[in-house]
């Protein structure tokens, strides 16, 4: 068994993950959805949004019908694809006719394989010149800008993925909940711990269905990628709103590399896996597609935008409200700037938006119909208010810069309207959106005392602020570059910005807090790989339940000591004469010392303290159990499966008990 962090192990699992992601979210949508306008990046993002929407809606339906599995997912996708293929122009595509006719000519020896393939590849550019033109079309921004974006993406990826590659333990206490809920979806159980949007867990489970790797890897890889995609989504939105790369580059850089400037204590969430960040990823691209629909009236943009709204609604409530704020700002700015031209489209968006909101609320109705109540901790958190005095967050230089961007954007709007006389609602939209989020961040907690707003408004501001700065930077750069008349100036400025921010940023990989030793998680993976599925049991701390769920069985150390008699043949229940045939074939006891504890400064430490006391009591009970066992079985002491600095794993092979009739 390769260690989690070993290069071959990571290569194999990334390959599986990458293939599943590519097939599901990049390749299949090309067959499934109508091609939308724009270059490959627009296509890819639009397809991703629509595919995630389809996966989540389909997942909800299939889980509710107890049909959520690979075969059903494939069947639905194939049926939808067939419908598309048979109703599209593909039917008349001459390329296909040539391909089939060529195949028969090939069989008759009239064509060589090369001739056949060449003959059928009519749609591809034949010569170097057209290939080059195609490349230019694919990369509309300057290559240096692309390179700069690549550098930003690489650094942002390094900061987030280092933890995912080197540390197998799930991140933060939320990681275990996400992992368990993902596995419940896999077992076709909705709202196991109460009603909570399950879109993200369906997304995770669906990748897992096609990646065929331990769900832990899906958990570890998806979160960092989501936050990386938020940064890239910011680049996409700003660069498309402004039709220039520089603002997008700056926004991506600020969020991806220097996001800690706004996120502060929530910065570690960038390397963890949470539904909130997943929902955030869709906010800016969705707003852009809705804007594009208002501007051009294209159906594909309308559906992409609505899909994005639906995804966010089905994934996270706070993100949905944030997107709602964006949509309101967008509609308002559209009505102010282009009232007559866009009124009909605004109206259409309004009523269709109501339908999407209803769709997003459907899972709640479904959960209530199933007799479930709201997830207790989430409901308490959402409805909870902070007692005592709530202070407005202290504003730092970058907060002020972002707030100042509102003024720049308002000025941009005014100049556009007065000087250029061209309706450009994107500037006003940006100003309203950034201004609205800033108000929520700065005063929302003070006014409402709401726990969610107090603790999470910074996460919203961390997205809106780089967006505002990026938009404002472009607004400033546009007249400057127009005066200087050099495209290189913008690129050079981008290079300087990237260099300065990278050099001045703390490029320390993000490592969120853990709830257990990495060693312990690594041993879980080793056992899960080496032993038959669901034929083994882990005896260990409660935290590890989510890891083992669906792969094997889990029992707490305390229950183990109470249940099994150490003086009899292993593993015999107390009061029984023979080993228990119901016990799993292989039983592994995780003796973790010293007990892993989160830092005392961590806000969850007080919540975990009773659990730590219980685990310490369990370990003491196990010491007594072990002593009694070794006394009763002097010739067969406990077998050690693994021994490391923080962990000893004991192993009972219960084959004899299992084979007994």
């Amino acid at each position: 068994m390769l260690a989690y962090w070993s290069v071959p192990n990571q290569l194999i699992h990334w390959l599986h993950y990458g293939l599943a992601f590519t097939v599901l979210f990049l390749l299949w949508p090309r067959v499934l959805f109508t091609r939308s306008r724009g270059n490959w990046l627009d296509q890819t993002i639009a397809n991703y949004i629509k595919m995630v929407c389809l996966v989540v809606v389909m997942g909800y339906i299939l889980v509710a019908l107890k049909l959520y599995e690979d075969i059903a997912i494939l069947a639905v996708l194939i049926v939808l694809s067939f419908r598309k293929v048979f109703h599209s122009e593909l039917k008349k595509d001459l390329t296909r006719v040539r391909l089939v006719a060529g195949f028969y000519d090939l069989l008759d020896g009239r064509l060589s394989v090369r001739q056949w393939l060449r003959g059928s590849a009519v749609a591809k550019p034949a010569d170097e010149a057209s290939l080059s033109a195609n490349m230019r079309e694919r990369f509309p921004f300057h290559r240096v800008n692309a390179l700069l974006l690549l550098v930003v993406a690489a650094v942002a990826a390094y900061l987030r993925l280092d933890n995912a590659v080197l540390h197998p333990a799930p991140d933060m206490s939320d990681g275990y909940v996400t992992l368990a809920w993902m596995k419940y979806i896999d077992e076709r159980i909705l709202f196991h711990d109460g009603i909570y949007p399950q879109g993200f867990h369906i997304y995770l489970a669906t990748i897992g269905k096609f990646a065929f790797i331990d769900p832990l890897y899906i958990l570890k890889y998806t979160g960092p990628l989501d936050t990386l995609f938020i940064a890239l989504g910011l680049y996409y939105a700003v660069s498309r709103f402004t039709n220039r790369a520089i603002g997008g580059l700056l926004a991506a850089l600020l969020y991806g590399v220097a996001g800690y400037l706004w996120l502060a204590g929530d910065w570690p969430r960038q390397a963890a896996t949470n539904s909130q960040e997943f929902a955030f990823l869709f906010v800016m691209p969705t707003l852009y597609f809705l804007y594009r629909y208002l501007r051009d009236g294209e159906q594909t943009d309308f559906w992409t935008g609505l899909s994005g709204v639906a995804v966010v609604g089905l994934v996270h409530t706070l993100a949905f409200a944030f997107l709602g704020l964006g949509v309101v700002c967008l509609l308002l700015s559209s009505l102010i700037v282009c009232f007559r031209a866009w009124l009909a489209r605004v109206g259409r968006l309004l009523w269709s938006g109501c339908i999407v909101i209803a769709v997003s609320v459907l899972p709640l109705g479904l959960g209530l119909a199933m007799g479930r109540s709201l997830n207790r901790s989430s409901a308490q958190f959402a409805a909870g208010s902070v007692s005592g005095q709530v202070y407005a967050p202290m504003l730092h230089a970058w907060d002020l810069a972002a707030a100042a961007s509102v003024i720049v954007l308002l000025l941009g709007t005014a100049i556009d309207g007065l000087v250029r006389r061209v309706p450009h609602p994107e500037w006003l939209f940006s100003a309203l959106f950034v201004g609205g989020t800033f108000t929520l961040y700065e005063f929302g907690g003070v006014w409402t005392h709401n726990a969610v707003i107090v603790s999470r408004a910074a996460d919203l501001w961390a997205i809106a602020a780089p967006f505002g700065i990026g938009m404002a930077a472009t607004a400033i750069a546009m007249p400057v570059t127009a005066l200087v008349r050099s495209a290189w100036l913008e690129t050079a400025a981008g290079g300087v910005l990237v260099t300065v921010i990278l050099l001045s940023s703390s490029l320390q990989p993000i490592v969120p807090y853990k709830m257990q030793w990495d060693e312990s998680t690594n041993e879980y993976l080793a056992i899960s790989t080496a032993f038959d599925h669901q034929a083994w049991m882990m005896v260990g701390p409660e935290t590890e339940y989510a890891l083992v769920l669906g792969q094997g069985y889990h029992l707490s150390l305390g229950q183990f000591c109470q249940r099994y008699d150490p003086t009899k043949a292993p593993l015999t229940l107390r009061g029984a004469a023979k080993p228990d045939p119901q016990t799993a074939k292989d039983v592994f006891i995780f003796d973790s010392r010293p007990l892993f504890k989160v830092s005392r400064s961590n806000s969850i430490y007080p919540l975990e303290t009773p659990l730590y006391r219980q685990e310490e009591a369990n370990l003491r009970a196990f010491d007594r159990w072990k002593q009694q066992y070794n006394q009763a079985h002097p010739s067969h002491p406990l077998a050690v499966y693994y021994q490391g600095p923080h962990l000893t794993v004991y192993w009972f092979s219960n084959q004899a008990a299992v084979s007994q009739p």
Binding site: K66, L67, A72, A75, L107, D108, F212, D532, H533
Partner: protein, 531 residues
């Protein structure tokens, strides 16, 4: 038509034509007849002396005209009906041929019940191994199904005309394609398994070995079928099972090794025998014209519907198993997990297909003979009467088939219970019919009953060269089978996948019945089109 007048020697010419046709029933053209005449010792002088023809070629031209207008020389068609004894003998022969085709399956089931192993299965395998071998077997049926149908169609076409050389060429062409396809499937399996971790590598390798060996066995079975040597193959199966017994019980080899070695021997022996059979048939056949095979593209294009039918049909037969075995009931180490009680129920029920297959062979032969006779006897103005008559006759045959299939199913159900409870019990062999096995057995009997009727329809449609109509029936049947099996196995329990088989078979039966009815209602048109 030739200008030669036969000077009242029509009966002599008819006799000569019959002699020519005894050497080759369906000559291609007048040149082939000329060649055959020359090979029979005819020359220009003799043709002139006996028939007043200018030469052999003119006589051949005359005979060719008679072949093309043989309706003019068929008034005695009724007189050519065989005697009662001959008819009964033919019926028994046809019935046995149909029955023998299913004999290897029956033999395997009997071997499993008595010896606990057959050529490719073993009762005491671990579930993992049973899963792997079952998947390998199903995969072999599905991927080779298309090729076996293509071989049966094209090979039989040439064998029927006496072109053994062409039959051999086309047969081995498809065998090569089949083996190439199987190799590609193996590569694909490796790649897919690497990507999706379906099975451990050692188990995958085992699956591939079984898959490849079984593939070559099915291909050779088909060739023996078109050469009408089903008994030979049944014998080979018996020898194979005997070899396994020898290796496993006497030499104490591992059962898997015993089976693989035995299957390899059976496979190699079948291929050698097939080659020898072709060689012998070619030597016996008249050394006349040896036409070239049609272009490969044309051959593949014309056999494509049969190929597709083969693939879809075998998928239809096995898809309910896949649905049952993929239903997650808590313990699913792999995506597919073998469920013995489901398989056992289906295996017992499979016996219900044997008798109907024999009856089907008899009905179709009789039906097509009658059609052939009617084609030469019925005047075109009476075509609608003929069509109606055949529709009525078809309903009668269908009712007979249905009744026979029901009776047979009841017999199989009672007989199997008796054999297992009484006979095997007395032998000390313990086979347990659990409630689940019984449930699957009963409903699968119902499903196979429908399949039997559907197969009768399919063979009628194939005989009338209407493969597309069969395809149009079997494909919806497959979908019905998959959808019903999937939903019920997930909602009610994996054994409920058997209702997929029942629903699919019912769809297959109804749709093929509608198709046959449509064809027979316009039989004259279809016969004209065929000729």
């Amino acid at each position: 038509m030739t200008t030669l007048h036969l000077h009242g020697q029509v009966s002599s010419a008819q006799r000569l034509l019959e002699e020519v046709q005894s050497r080759h029933l369906h000559p291609e053209d007048s040149y082939e007849i000329a060649a055959l005449l020359e090979s029979m010792g005819w020359n220009d002088q003799r043709a002139n002396a006996q028939f007043g023809a200018a030469g052999v070629f003119e006589l051949a031209e005359t005979l060719w005209g008679m072949v093309r207008e043989d309706i003019a020389f068929q008034p005695s068609a009724k007189d050519q009906r065989p005697s009662v004894i001959r008819t009964v003998f033919n019926l028994i022969q046809q019935f046995a041929r149909g029955l023998i085709f299913a004999l290897p399956i029956a033999l395997s089931i009997v071997a499993m019940l008595t010896l606990r192993f057959s050529l490719w299965s073993y009762q005491n395998l671990t579930v993992s191994l049973a899963t792997i071998i079952a998947i390998g077997t199903i995969l072999s049926f599905v991927t080779v199904g298309g090729f076996t149908q293509a071989i049966a169609r094209r090979g039989f076409y040439y064998v029927y005309q006496g072109y053994y050389g062409m039959a051999r060429k086309v047969t081995f062409h498809f065998i090569r394609l089949g083996l190439l396809g199987a190799s590609l499937v193996c590569i694909l399996l490796f790649v897919v398994n690497f990507l999706v971790n379906l099975f451990p590598v050692n188990l995958l390798l085992l699956m591939i070995v079984y898959y490849l060996v079984l593939n070559s066995i099915w291909l050779s079975v088909t060739v023996m079928y078109i050469l009408r040597k089903e008994i030979l193959f049944t014998g080979l199966i018996v020898i194979g099972i005997g070899l396994i017994g020898f290796f496993f019980r006497v030499l104490h080899w591992n059962i898997l090794v015993s089976q693989i070695v035995s299957m390899l021997i059976v496979s190699a022996a079948s291929m050698i025998i097939v080659l020898w059979l072709f060689d012998r048939a070619e030597k016996k056949a008249e050394r006349g014209i040896q036409p070239k095979l049609p272009r490969l593209g044309a051959t593949l294009y014309s056999t494509l519907p049969y190929f597709l039918y083969g693939v879809v049909y075998f998928l239809f037969l096995f898809v309910d198993r896949l649905m049952a075995w993929s239903a997650n009931d808590g313990f699913m180490p792999y995506l597919i997990w073998f469920r013995g009680d489901y398989e056992l129920g289906l295996d017992f029920a499979l016996l219900a297909l044997m008798l109907p297959m024999g009856i089907s062979e008899v009905i179709v032969t009789k039906f097509m003979n009658d059609v052939s006779i009617s084609q030469t006897q019925v005047l075109s103005k009476d075509a609608h009467v003929m069509n109606r008559g055949y529709v009525r006759r078809y309903w009668r045959y269908l009712a007979a088939m249905f009744a026979a299939a029901i009776g047979n199913a009841a017999l199989v159900y009672v007989g199997t219970q008796w054999v297992i409870n009484r006979y095997l019990g007395s032998l000390g062999t313990r086979v347990e019919i659990t409630g689940r096995v019984d449930f699957v057995f009963l409903w699968a009997l119902c499903g196979y009953l429908f399949v039997a009727v559907a197969l009768l329809n399919a063979v009628v449609l194939f005989s009338l060269s209407q493969p597309e109509r069969v395809l149009r029936s079997v494909f919806p049947a497959l979908l019905a089978n998959m959808a019903t099996g999937f939903l019920l196995s997930r909602w009610a329990g994996y054994d409920w996948a058997v209702f997929g088989l029942v629903a699919g078979a019912a769809v297959f039966m109804v749709l093929t019945t509608v198709q046959v009815r449509q064809v027979l209602a316009r039989l004259d048109y279809h016969l004209y089109f065929l000729s």
